[in-house]
Amino acid sequence: MRKLRMSIVHLFLILASFISLFPFAWMLIGMTNTSSDIVKGKFSFGSQFSENLSKLFDTTSLGAAFVNSTVIAIVGTLATLILSSLAGYGFEVYRSKGKDRLFGLLMLSMMMPFAAIMIPLFRMFSGFGLMNSLAAVILPSITTAFMIFFFMQNTKSFPRELLQAGRVDGLSEFSLFTRIYVPTMQPTYAAAGIITFMSYWNNFLWPLIILQTPDKKTLPLIVSSLASSYNPDYGVIMVAIVITTLPTLVVFFLLQKRFVQGMLGSVK
């Protein structure tokens, strides 16, 4: 009876794992096949990989897109980490009634659907003359209430005695932050960095609106425009999807523990 129950549990989990992993296998196999084979459901490796790859580079500005996505994700993540940790630290360490009220107000922005603010943002950025610039992609999410909240939560467990000790050593308030807080909080920065990187790397709706010249596109925009063409070439698309997915997959396997910690961090 007990054995039977365990077999059912394993069967269920194997099925769930199979369904979870299947699309990964599908994209890896797909990038070696022709589009018509993919649409017909061929599930074995073919010999089209190099043709698909060269077609992808010939028909799209994939190199530029990779560079754009990378610049946006790295610059955006660094800026977001600096600004959000400054605020999270400030709100928690220098608590006051006024700051608590401001924090509460900022939290409301988490409830604002992006679709509700995208039109004014679009008009704002075209007014600034920042259409088709990578800065325009980064700026609207350069600080988020969620990230400030994340740093504030994690600062609650930061040992305050370290700050007192630093003050005795004659450090200025700002160097307390850069010399004591930042090094001590490295795990928090790593976790926050991973989730922020992911959201910049995968962002779609806002870049779709604000980036309209071909050489300024990001990887998700390339994948989407290839797939929505009248006669999509799935072999080429699969290569683009693998190139888009690989970096986040590598980050995940290198930093698996931090990755999960980052997702859980918000509800500690």
């Binding site: 797909g30 006051s96 409830m111």
Partner: protein, 291 residues
Amino acid sequence: MGGKWNKSSLIGWQFVALPSALILLFSFYPMIQSFILSFQSGKGSVYSYVGIDNYIRLFSDPMFKQAVLNTLLYLIIQVPIMLFLGLIIAHLLNMPNLRFKGFYRTAIFLPCVTSLVSYAVLFKSIFSLDGIANQMLTSLHIINEPIAWLMDPIWARVVIIAAITWRWTGYNMIFYLSAMQNIDPSIYEAASIDGASKIRQFFTITIPMLKPILLFTAIISTNGTLQLFDEVVNITNGGPGNSTMTISQYIYNLSFQYTPNFGYAATVSYAIVIIVAVLALLQLKVGGEKR
């Protein structure tokens, strides 16, 4: 003492000022602009006040009704299925003597690392008419003939719901698993001694202990589903015949696909704001009451 406190508070403001100003500029200011815009109509840079005309138009707009209906349909069907699946899987993975735990957990979590656009396009290719999904299902005799998944209004919705569930079940599972690991095992031991079955323990111990985290995941999933855009655009582009279109996609189409009408699009966007606010309050009330 008071002077010192003020000085320290002042330093604190220096830390929070710039980040807060950026959020006010890029979230709150557009939110107000959007509200003003929702009472205007026009093209290009010429806008005129039309009072509540846009809001009246909402109620006689069949596309808007369809988009709201679709979005709520995804919400009502997809979110409960996903949260329940995540809960079951977390419960199974939390069994103390389960083998290959690490493999299962990683495999089921892995969909979370894909970009929304990429997995949406993958699902589109998997569910093509002669595609792999139809082949597998026919060879297993689950269906007799291929289903035209993306050409049929009902099946297209099923594919979208399946896709979102694939992407996010592992994400929710991780939250539950971590909360379950914080439950004191002696509670279960005591219940076993009292003769409570495993299934009974799941409903009388596990679920009540997880209430705060269940509420948290319900709120973020609701928020996410109400803003659904990437998947629908890339799997069906709203078709066939607008049957899968969401509110976010309708706003996008009104602003950037059809003849631009920013004023009316802003009005539609305030509909989501209201739905998000109402549902969040409702969930907090329901979640808070049963404690």
